[in-house]
Subunit: 329 residues, 4 copies
């Protein structure tokens, strides 16, 4: 049974959907859905409540919020402002739920935004691009106090682009921990490009999780996670699927094919034969057929350069709105 | 029968291989192979000699030279110089075969290099990148004469990056024809990023053809070809596969799967059933299973940014060697 | 006398100011000024009416419109939209004055936008950047007709980035003429980065001229002009100063110094001595003191990368507004 | 007197030259010169030995090595390899002099390379560009041991690009200290773009200092220095002048002018008057004449984009050579 659900995906929602498709109930996991008709944005909240649920889902206990925005790649400025506002709202919810901000301390918190990924590899450059457009304030608050910004209260925002291990020789965790130990932010927000399971997710999905960044996730495959445990500071992970693993796409299509053959009557009984295979036999059949040349290959839309730039603006804007006082007031 | 061979590929070699796989002899088409053991470069020359051969191959009469260089993406400077030298040699052959240069007029010809594709879309940026690194001389020769370059003879090299229709509102053909009509080069060399059928070709293949650039080819899909017919000047096309169409990869894997099912005895007779399908039925089965989300999706290696830059240097260097006098002397 | 006014500047306004400073009246040259208090934009129109005026001004007969926008480098979206609207309005005036568009033919004209300069040299990249953000329509109008755009009338806009001679081996004029001969636009709009005389102009000035682009002008120093005479089609030049020649700045400061010494009483009579020099002696004194290392040096603001990007958006937007029907209707 | 020598420059050599020009001997400061005739590289070593010397020079006690390479901007690969070798040699000297490496510990040291500056501002991007081309090894050594690299000994090289305060909200010092505290390198090498006093230095100068990076230095003006005192680890600073302050150039030319007027007999006695001014009066005269528009303006060669890229390759290559075993063996 487990082989089927044992697929790597960075999206809690995709994992949950696999179980739901077979009407398998996962104990300790709650699913909530919300649909904004006007903006056509579906927000799904997966809450993993127990360690048992965490084990089945293959993800730590916590809250995973997924926004599905069908037109996220369409360059419409007004629409993107709405997405940014909505994203800011969801981030605020998570920050309050985790008591990082409260009614009493809404406008005096400090955050370190970390843009994960490799600036030189287009689908992995999303994190660095988000930081490029961020409005940082920590140095102003530190130097002149909050009044310098014409405000009674102001958040101290800092940001870093650590780079990837092949460029730095260091774990991302080492760099972020070093900087956080010195600057002591109240919370870390880590932005990362993800590999989705389905090409349907590309262009249109944002996942926010209060569990940080898991080891092994992301396009760049972080070896060590960025979490409250590893950093000593709460971490909100913001992940956006920008690629699909090529082998995944081929694998999925063949699973579909086997399913189609199995169920089809018009296909003259071939399904009966395939039905007699067990999961392992099917898995081996598929693996045999996938070209070894697909290793390290990714599926991306042709306009991925433009798309990554576009989405990074929307995320930066969401963070800028979140950190500005009017939103949190 | 034809359905099987009716696949779009920009590489004459890939087309030929499809026929060869089934031992189908194509009349009017000659295949020559050469293997350089030291450099591990396989060079295949497909010569389409007759209109009948052209019709079957789906490509115009002419010479198509394919270099397969397994380590083309490896950043080894010395090795790349060797590839560049070899490329220059093959280009020289084609230029002499087409009587663009001759023993008498080896060092006094003029060439316009056209870098096709979209600079802003990584896998399509190869053409523009090649031109970025080219050594142009036409303006020096025109202004000061060949002696200014310390040479008795010198080729007048010019270059342009026309951009793509979505950026210019013009056909590439209109722009190249306009410039060629005024500057009257002896030959046009057009560089283009191609979509290959097989991920095995990525990173490692260069095709040179004396038929120019065909309509509908390239990552950017040129609507009108750049050919001697359309431009009034001989055109050498230099194409390098940088992406594979995602639907193609899925399609191919499923074809493999059907073939495996058909031939396998261990698979308990399922093959017998599939064998009873005709080609159209199989094609429909596959199309039904390919996700519509794969439209416009490409498969590329993760390091495509680095790879395109690397290969563009090798191509530029090949052209620089070709145009410099010592090579052609 | 003439030495003093014989300074190279691409801005007709700067030339005119030199004469005005000394109350020298230039016959055949009209100056009109307009000040928009709300936007703080000063628009000056220099009209050179006669060949005699042209000779004195060192610029061809025609209309030169200069917008001075003090806050052009400030990243305020709303303000930039206003500048773009104003720019579109001035361009429309020039197009009507030159009978390129008229009440009868307002929405059916075709324009070729040419982004001059070198994309790889920041202060010279303005032209290419403007074209990057342009909305081109010619291919849509040609393919599907104006109705495809949901419009009764539509302008056919095309664009090209010719590159510079060191990259192409061709004169810009050759390339633009080639493309224009084939595509036959009603008008050419050429965008170019200029060298100003005064650092005060940087960041804040747009010059529009119905005389096209003069030979020897621009950061990249075009050898041949783009004019109605050379191209057979009316050319509107749009120039934006992005650098000042370093030698110019030093020269100007020293001229100021001499003037200060001459006029100053408190400086204990040194002025009397300098007054006895003639213009040639002063010029020689200054030239002797300017370091030869300043050749090829430019003065730019530190944030020129950001500034050029910012201004290019404003210009593109101005053109997009101009070409869209609502503006010209 | 002091006013004259009180000019800001990041180059110890420029400071020393000012004193030498007037035959002012500075106690506690030693100057050594070496000229490589073949490569035309002049290497000057300024050793500040005493605190008194440090006070006069306005720079901390330590060794400042300046390479002057007239053709550093010329794109000749072989020549650049020679510069890189020479740079590596000088760095090795400084590392040995400071006992960071020794005969016993030549191939087992760890270094953190810091690319200072702003990637988005061309003349300040040199540091980040150097790191882009660096060969880092720390992660390989940590993961697989030195044998993984086919070596008995190997240096553990890491690298970071901290960004600038306006982008990060953090002091560069905070970020580097954080990362160094966690990763504990034996030495930090910090690369920075400098502002030179004289345009003659641009394109051709590399300064290496074992005093690290001083506060207030660099194009980006670091508020806090990166030094052994502030970081607890020895810091080698590598600085390359890429710009000259525009006001500096104007100031210098006017100083020259005043000097010329003072000394000239042919200038009819004007010098006598100026001679009667004291230093403060002259300084005020000049400041009055410098345009306020020159604030924040820099003088750079037109091809600064290409030049910064070219030089960054040479520096990276020097570091790669230094860190590879063959050099230090």
């Amino acid at each position: 049974m487990l082989e089927k659900y044992d697929v790597r995906t960075d999206l809690a929602l995709e994992k949950k959907e696999r179980f739901d498709a077979d009407n398998v109930e996962v104990k300790g996991v709650i699913l909530e859905e919300d649909y904004d008709e006007e903006l056509e944005i579906r927000t799904t909240t997966v809450i993993i409540e127990t360690e048992k649920g965490a084990k089945i889902m293959g993800k730590p206990v916590g809250t995973y919020l997924t926004m599905e925005v069908p037109h996220m790649a369409v360059p419409d400025e007004d629409y993107h402002r709405e997405i940014s506002m909505k994203l800011a709202g969801h981030l605020k919810e998570l920050l309050m739920k985790n008591q990082i901000i409260s009614e009493a301390k809404k406008q005096n918190f400090s955050a370190l935004v970390v843009g994960l990924g490799n600036r030189k590899v287009t689908p992995d450059a999303l994190g660095p691009f988000v930081v490029d457009n961020l409005y940082v304030t920590r140095h102003i608050v530190n130097e002149y106090g909050k009044y310098a910004m014409g405000l009674e209260h102001a958040n101290a925002i800092s940001a870093m682009i650590p780079g990837v291990m092949a460029q730095t020789g260091m774990e991302t965790l080492e760099m972020v921990k070093g900087v956080a130990d010195i600057t002591k932010p109240d919370v870390i927000l880590a932005i990362d490009a993800l590999a989705a399971r389905s090409s349907r997710r590309l262009n249109r999905t944002i996942q926010i999780a209060d569990t940080g960044i898991s080891p092994g996730s992301g396009v760049g495959n972080h070896r060590n996670g960025l979490t409250k445990e590893s950093l000593g500071i709460p971490v909100i992970g913001i992940g956006i699927p920008t690629v699909v693993d090529a082998a995944t796409i081929v694998n999925d299509t063949m699973e579909n094919m086997i399913a189609a053959l199995e169920s089809s009557k018009s296909l003259k009984g071939v399904g009966d034969v395939l039905k007699s295979y067990n999961a392992t036999e099917k898995y081996e059949l598929i693996q045999e057929l996938i070209s070894p040349h697909l290793n390290g290959m990714y599926v991306t839309p042709k306009d991925v350069d433009e798309m990554v730039k576009q989405i990074s603006f929307t995320i930066s804007e969401g963070l800028n709105v979140l950190f500005a006082n009017n939103m949190l007031a």
